[in-house]
Amino acid sequence: MEFKPLTCEDKPKVRFLVVDDSVFARKNLCKMVQAFGGEIAGEAGDGIAAIAEYANTLPDIVLMDITMPKMEGIEAVEHIVRDHPEARIVMVSSVGYQDNILSALQKGARHFVQKPVKPEALYEIIRYVLNDQVAPAPATAGEIQS
């Protein structure tokens, strides 16, 4: 299947950070991203590495697994979005129960894709997320109280 290359603002290529503890899953996602005309800005195998890699590469999109060693994906999302409210993160996980999805979205993830990933479904979701308006930073508890 051929995909029209993804675009983001005036950049020639959409840059991705791919986070998954499985090397095989990362390779597979990277292959899909390249088929979409994207560029791999970085890869990480756990949540802690993902936070550092995000700050180093400032990608346009993050594809983030949930179940990972050291730090899980949802916690990493919370850290990344706190420091970079503009971050566009798509959760990609085989564990797709409602609590997990809700929790990821509450922490600032933009979308969720369940594994096994269908390239056409991932492409449409990324296109949607790229065109979505950046959500305003969530109010802190202090701001709400005052």
């Binding site: 095989f24 292959k31 179940t67 797709g96 129960y97 609590d99 369940q114 594994k115 269908k118």
Partner: protein, 168 residues
């Protein structure tokens, strides 16, 4: 072991094999495991903890694992055992992840641990109070074994959601 706990794993394996390898998986044999589990090919283990606890092992004949790698990654030619191991880990992750999604949506809260390669040739056994069931699935690309040893964690009577009604 309760059928209602096994069924989501069976459904999930069938769906994941169909989606990733483009073929069907039919149950050819079911046995209760009495001794230690001896893997047949490349195997990965996932632990589950919470209101349902235990572990599940996915074990694929080498030929099936290599074919799965070729199907999923589009790789061709001779594939290393390392690559095949990564494939089995990822397939295990998908099968268990999809199954626990169903169980979680029925109201059970638990955690899935990252898959690990099960390298022992003999050694793992269901706990004394958790028997293991081994299902052999035949696919056109080789046999796949699913070894399930899960149980409900001890809960107060009346706490358990109505699984039987939800799992026909």
């Amino acid at each position: 072991m309760k059928m209602e706990l096994m069924q989501p794993f069976i459904n999930s394996l069938d769906a994941v094999i169909a989606e990733t390898m483009g073929c069907s998986a039919e149950i050819a044999d079911v046995t209760m495991e009495e001794g230690n589990y001896k893997r047949t090919g490349i195997a990965a283990l996932v632990g589950i903890s919470g209101e349902i606890e235990g572990r599940v092992i996915l074990d694929m004949e080498m030929a099936a694992a290599q074919q799965a790698t070729a199907d999923i990654a589009g790789a061709e030619g001779s594939l290393s055992e390392e690559t095949a191991r990564e494939t089995v880990c990822e397939l295990t992750n998908m099968v268990i992840g999809n199954a626990v999604t169903q169980l979680n949506n029925y109201g059970f809260k638990f955690r899935v641990h990252p898959p690990e390669i099960y390298a022992l040739d003999a050694g793992l056994q269901g706990a004394a109070d958790t028997e293991a069931v081994v299902l052999r699935f035949e696919t056109p690309k080789g046999a796949v074994y699913l070894n399930i040893a899960v149980r409900y964690k001890q809960r107060r009577s009346g706490d358990r959601p109505g699984m039987i009604a939800l799992c026909p």
